[in-house]
Symmetry: C2
Subunit: 343 residues, 2 copies
DNA sequence: TTTTAGCACTCTCAAGCTGAGAGTGCTAAA
DNA sequence: TTTAGCACTCTCAGCTTGAGAGTGCTAAAA
């Protein structure tokens, strides 16, 4: 679809104005507000053209125009200027990461919070996760009686902890010995390699190895790491979600982990690190997202550890700014991950 | 305030009916629906009495009656029958805990999910937390270069992890040695006792001890453990939150961690384990909760590890059922905590 | 050929009105 | 003390109406 420069200008202005006001935009208003060098009639003709191409829509005969989802897609694909974030915003964000505790969990929470605040929408951040579970380190810590706390560290820094109940009480000394032995034996092994080591272990060691294997298999099976959400209440203040049923639908997809994993798995997980994906109005697939748009990105090291971040807001969303923010935060997280977690 | 049995009955029925329908309740409706052995005029007289005592309210002259917050308080304090949960519900819940992975995090998430589903409202669960940080176990795990992952286990099973950057690279062997030495030295020590041990350590050991102390101090300072939320979208379907601005206010207090910690600190943290606290309409203190009620309980071992659980819903909430559910889940968690985490 | 002024037309939305319905309080009788 | 009866009050959904905003079309101007 080829538009003239003037048509592109008018589409852009309508989208800008509509994002600002949440109202249909009329020809006269547009000429006045932006002091265009043409009459409203000319604008009307162009609007009619854009409406024919389904980039604009009229809510009713005598209302102004509203961008269609197709219109937003054209805008995001062709017209949005990749401005990048203003320098002082970048500085503020970097500063916050620099100031926070050196702890992935904190960073991820902070990332979610930054995204939510900057975009005034709901945000999600998944912990970096590797498709392949590689053993790194095991600790066994006696708590009381036969209850033992198992801490399993995977290559890449994912930590899994679990209580296990042994057949009979074992002292901390013994537990440490077993943990050491397993750590040495299994170092840098994947599930297959580890399951071949059973023969070299006594009964207790085998039991624990079983539990390790189960835990690692579970990690491999899950599509993402821990999920952090923030800013759910932000979207409630948007006028399109003033009837809370709409909001409920949209937020439900964030709250229901399985839905969210599905969404991520079929979109951003196939994308390259560094690329941005924009889902507008559910793209015909995601019924619950019909009223929303989602801006997603992947961060981390494509070959080992990756996670996703995203922003969920109304379709009427300031895409340029949101995309810049998501891209910037993804880069910051990528840097942090490669600095601290990489092998 | 002393009410006759009949007045109590009528108040109870009005509250039941209002909770069911979210509408003002009229005298005639009440007599019909509950086939009362008296005329609507009698009911009207009693209603007038209850209205004088500010237990009921008329939204306008010719509408039925609606319970006031005072009315709900009287109801919760005097009239709610402590039925306990039906046996099969209890079984279902217990079963879910029994089936889940043996892992506090899973249990807490499950508790939040159970509360949200059973009460069809928003729920919160805080991880068990001890006011006093007592050292139990330390692990140091080399990641790469000078980055080290520190895992600190406190008495009671709280786990804190953090990346630290050492002055110069140290091998995993050496790290394990240091961790072992510190674990032995500090075992069962509190912050004061630990800070006296500096003299017995080399430079690196002292650095790490400093970090440990900072981390433990941070833990002591924070009022609660990790917070798990669920069911935020449940409250969006209640008619009183159909204008999403109301919902926004209410949910915001859950999302903003500092607000929530404040709320917990000034209510449930002073209560006994086992007791239930019901906040109705913010009780004049919590502006954001004017439209909501919160049912809170504390679980765990009062002397060592405690956490809070709660349900946030509309004032028009099925208190009997919610209170039973909260009490039951608190007991389940208390049992789990004392079985697995206690010293 | 493109742009613009002018005009008739369309549709929404807020305001005002209205009657049905639900509920009340009061009074007098049971 | 309870109840039947009645006049009264208030809301709410449905309807009408006029102002306002915006459109498409046509014919003239550039």
């Amino acid at each position: 679809m080829q538009l003239t420069d003037r048509q592109k200008l008018i589409l852009t202005l309508i989208i800008h104005e509509h994002i600002r006001t949440a109202q249909p935009v009329g020809s006269k208003t547009l000429v006045q507000k932006y002091t265009l060098e043409m009459s409203s009639a000319t604008v009307r003709n162009e609007m009619a053209f854009l409406t024919d191409y389904e980039l604009l829509r009229q809510p009713h005969t005598s209302a102004g125009r509203v961008p269609t989802e197709e219109g937003y897609r054209y805008f995001v694909g062709n017209l949005v200027q990749k401005s990048g974030l203003p320098t002082n915003t970048r500085r503020t964000i970097t500063h916050q990461f620099y100031q926070s505790r050196q702890d992935i969990e904190q960073w991820l929470k902070l990332a979610a919070s930054v995204l939510a605040n900057q975009s005034q929408a709901a945000s999600l951040v998944t912990a970096p996760h590797s498709e392949k579970a590689i053993f790194k380190h095991l600790e066994l810590i006696a708590t009381r009686g036969r209850q033992v706390l198992m801490v399993l560290v995977l290559m890449g820094g994912e930590i899994r902890q679990q209580f296990i109940a042994l057949q009979e009480p074992v002292s901390q000394e013994q537990l440490s010995q077993i943990a050491n032995r397993l750590t040495h034996l299994c170092s840098r092994c994947d599930i297959q390699q580890m399951s071949r080591l059973k023969g070299q272990l006594d009964a207790l060691g085998q039991d624990i190895l079983e539990i390790l294997l189960a835990e690692m298999a579970l990690t491999e099976r899950s599509a993402t790491g821990e999920i952090y959400l923030d800013g759910m209440t932000n979207v409630l203040s948007e006028p399109e979600f003033s009837e809370s049923d709409e909001a409920r639908q949209a937020l439900h997809i964030l709250e229901e982990r399985s839905l969210l994993e599905n969404l991520l798995a079929s979109t951003v997980m196939n994308a390259d690190v560094g690329g941005i994906q924009v889902l507008i109005g559910g793209e015909g697939t995601w019924e619950e997202l019909r009223q929303c748009s989602v801006v997603l990105a992947r961060y981390g090291d494509p070959n080992t550890l990756t996670g996703s971040i995203g922003v969920l807001g109304p379709i009427r969303m300031p895409y340029d700014r949101t995309i810049s923010t998501v891209r910037f935060v993804a880069n910051v997280l990528s840097d942090l991950v490669s600095e601290t977690l990489a092998v």
